[in-house]
């Protein structure tokens, strides 16, 4: 099954990939993704151009995101249905880790 293969390839996700995928629940372009991720992490995570380009390439190749429009030479992306499924899977996994770590805190 394709989703199982994708889970093996993409989960667990790096923090970078997770935040980029999360940011694409709304249609955005590269620089917009960087601004969004910087804002929601209070400036902790500032994505570089090379990192963003490479990660978008991997996500698009895997079918987790798709290109929507190309406006003024900027490519816009949005998460796909498969991407949403994997994002939910990853969110569940991280929530489980968070619950289990609360004992330590």
């Amino acid at each position: 099954m394709q989703i199982e293969k994708l889970k093996q390839s993409f989960i667990p996700m790096s923090e970078t990939m997770l935040y980029i995928l999360m940011s694409l629940t709304i249609e955005r372009h590269g620089y917009g993704i960087m601004i969004y991720v910087k804002e929601i992490t209070n400036g902790r995570l500032v994505l570089g151009a090379g990192t963003l380009y490479q990660t978008l390439g991997k996500l698009e190749k895997g079918g987790l995101i798709r290109q929507t429009i190309e406006n003024d030479r900027k490519k816009y992306y949005i998460i796909s249905d498969i991407g949403k499924q994997l994002l939910i899977e990853e969110a569940k996994r991280i929530s489980e880790i968070n619950r289990n770590l609360e004992v330590i805190l």
Partner: protein
């Protein structure tokens, strides 16, 4: 100022970037970036600048590649064959293009693969020449024998150099 064989003296991507940055701090900036820079690179004296240089090997890239970098404020200096040379002037914190370990490793892996390809090509040619040399050794006179040996030894030294670079990339930048 002209620098020769810069890619041979600074083959590791991060070393090459630091070398250009140190020259920029002294006021030396590349005149033109092109495919011959591995062999010859001209520099012109201007004011000292704090530049962050980034070398990114891309054998295939889409139309978004250059746009993304430019949107982030990087200036394209040029291409050394398939390697894009970017730079950004900065004041305080040295900017990064590869902000996570995985994508940095992937960038370095592309250079590693390029060196591996050169190494494989080199070793195949050397094996063929060595076999030819061994098979025909009795047919050569002394002067030809010495020439062949010198060429072979230089060739094997270059192969060892390629292997050393590949190890250094894995150890330092992986």
């Amino acid at each position: 100022m002209i620098k020769f064989l810069s890619s041979f003296f600074h083959p590791i991507p991060s070393d090459y970037e630091e070398w250009l940055e140190n020259l920029a701090l002294k006021g030396w900036h590349p005149k033109e970036i092109n495919k011959w820079n591995s062999l010859v690179m001209g520099f012109e004296k201007k004011g000292p600048k704090k530049y962050r240089y980034v070398l990114d090997l891309q054998t295939s890239y889409n139309s978004d590649y250059i746009k993304v970098y430019e949107e982030f404020g990087w200036e394209l200096c040029g291409r050394i064959t398939n390697a894009f040379l970017w730079r950004m002037e900065y004041d305080e914190k040295r900017p990064e293009s590869f902000t996570d370990v995985q994508t940095l490793r992937e960038r370095n892996s592309r250079f590693f693969k390029a060196f591996s390809f050169s190494f494989l090509f080199q070793i195949i040619i050397e094996i063929l020449i060595t076999l030819f040399f061994i098979v025909n050794i009795n047919t050569f006179d002394m002067s030809v024998l010495v020439e062949y040996l010198v060429v072979l030894i230089l060739s094997y030294i270059y192969t060892i150099y390629l292997v050393a670079i590949m190890f250094k990339i894995r150890r330092k930048d992986w």
